[in-house]
């Protein structure tokens, strides 16, 4: 019996498509709701980011509640940067009770790259410990070993970075996450498919689903900025050049073109189990991308 709709879809063998929504910095959630409505039936799950890049925003748990309310399938992105083990467990209890059954376990970007640089970083746990904690809770205990009055159940996933230049330590970490119980992985942005292929050669020995991360870039400058400032993003020079070569005003179009091209190749060659589209503030164009890539599906609940 699958723990969540998303898990069902994971196990169905279909080519998976997920995307993410970044909540607003404030109480005005109208745009976020609009995007949820736009996307809920077009993708297998919607991630809601948790203070992405350490910028303070409307909480991901709140965003996931909204996705649920509007009939979509949420993935609760949970970082360990801001909350200690008590708060993390509490949030998980709440999430489960509200039907949020998918959790992406992340360590989280460091406080220094965000907009509240003087905040106290928590990091009571790291991503691996968070994965294990969830499994412990599923067994009816909390992290301190006390019995739970009602245990949750989750489909859990983590992130991985196949394009890193320190691949061995990354693979050790990947192994630990698999051992800890991760069922699916959404990767950091991928551009080099050979790199993805090599990673899949290693990862395919495990019974986990890998969704390749696809970042939609809008200009060479944006690509360079993300390269320099956003943790985990590596945009190759060839891609930056291709963006730079686009006609004036057509940067986004070129970015979409690149994203679509990548997605098509991944799907056609069956490189991995799916894609995770990160539109970085342009969630509105995701449907167009899906259409252009031939990935438009109507997802039935």
């Amino acid at each position: 019996m699958a723990k969540s709709l998303f898990e069902e879809r994971l196990n169905s063998g279909k080519f998976l498509v997920t995307t993410e929504i970044g909540p607003p910095k404030g109480t005005d959630i109208s745009e976020m709701v609009h995007h949820i409505e736009l996307l809920k039936d077009k993708v297998d799950a919607i991630n809601v980011t948790d203070h992405q890049s350490s910028v303070m925003r409307f909480p991901s748990l709140g965003g996931c509640l909204l996705v649920r309310e509007h009939g979509g399938e949420p993935v609760f992105q949970m970082t360990t940067r801001d909350r200690n083990r008590l708060a993390l467990q509490a949030d998980l209890l709440l999430a489960y009770s509200r039907g949020i059954r998918n959790v992406l376990c992340l360590t989280g970007d460091s406080v220094d790259v965000g907009d509240h640089k003087e905040a106290k970083p928590v990091f009571d746990l790291d991503s691996v410990q968070l994965l294990r904690m969830i499994r412990i809770m599923e067994s009816g205990k909390d992290l301190a070993g006390n019995d739970l009055k009602g245990a949750p159940e989750f489909c859990i996933g983590a992130s991985v970075h196949p394009a890193t230049d320190s691949i061995e330590p990354q693979l050790i970490k990947f192994d630990k996450k698999v051992e800890a119980g991760a069922q699916f992985f959404q990767t950091q942005g991928v551009y080099d498919l050979d790199c993805l292929r090599r990673f899949m050669q290693y990862a395919s020995q495990f019974n986990v689903k890998i969704l390749a991360g696809i970042i939609v870039l809008a200009s060479a400058r944006m690509a360079q900025y993300m390269n320099d400032n956003v943790p985990g993003i590596v945009v190759p020079q060839a891609v930056i050049d291709e963006l730079a070569g686009a006609e004036k005003g057509k940067g986004l179009q070129k970015g979409i073109e690149i994203a679509v091209r990548l997605m098509k190749m991944i799907k056609d060659e069956n490189l991995c189990h799916g894609v995770h589209i990160m539109a970085v503030g342009r969630e509105g164009i995701v449907p167009d991308i899906l259409e252009a890539a031939g990935l438009e599906v109507s997802v039935h609940v």
Binding site: R81, R85, T107, G108, D109, S110, D112, V113, P121, F123, D124, L125, D126, S127, V128, Q129, R132, M133, L143, S159, V160, H161, T164, D165, S166, E168, P169, Q170, I172, K173, D175, K176, E179, A180, Q188, P231, G232, V234
Partner: protein, 227 residues
Amino acid sequence: MIVAEQKPLEEIRRLIAPYEKVLILGCGTCMTVCGAGGEREGSLLHSALRVAQTRGGDEAHNFLEYTVKRQCDFEFLDMLEDRVGEVDAILSLGCGIGVQVIAERFPDIPVLPGVNTSFMGASKELGVWDERCAACGECRLDETGGICPITRCVKGILNGPCAGSKSGKCEVSSDIDCAWVLIYERLERLGQLEKMRRYYPPRNFRTIPRPRRIVSKADIDLGGNDG
């Protein structure tokens, strides 16, 4: 070594402003070694404050200058007994420990901190100090090839690296090495990579709650008549 940095001059001037007679107290151990508050720095600060008086429009102060071997033990402070009555405040160039011990020893006189105590660290090169220990209370350096993930990893995680590691450097700054890449390389060199493959459960932060105390003497009851 405890490493500190002397406070900016303007801050010190502000701190001493209400006091006419100030004792500038240097420390002869850690603060001398890290160059923040030894005898020479105390002397220099004294000169700077005098320049501030004659040229910067500060109110008039009278300064005493003195350096004790350590500020963190009462016995070293006992020799200040006579001088303390002559001054209105003590500007301590010792680390935070020293400032507090002085305050405890001489509760009737204000004690001002002259340095910002920063960390425990080592110096490979003159004038360059790197943080190395966070005093976590449960040292696990054998597991990580002698490289502390709590101090040297910005996030302090035990199952590293995180996704922000790039070209062996930390996401926060390319001046900082990714501790987990260093740990990987060291363990590989030692042939002990299996230590990195192990799962490390969440840290016991109970060692940290402050203030901590260590008691190294045994409790001996010599009893009554016969022992």
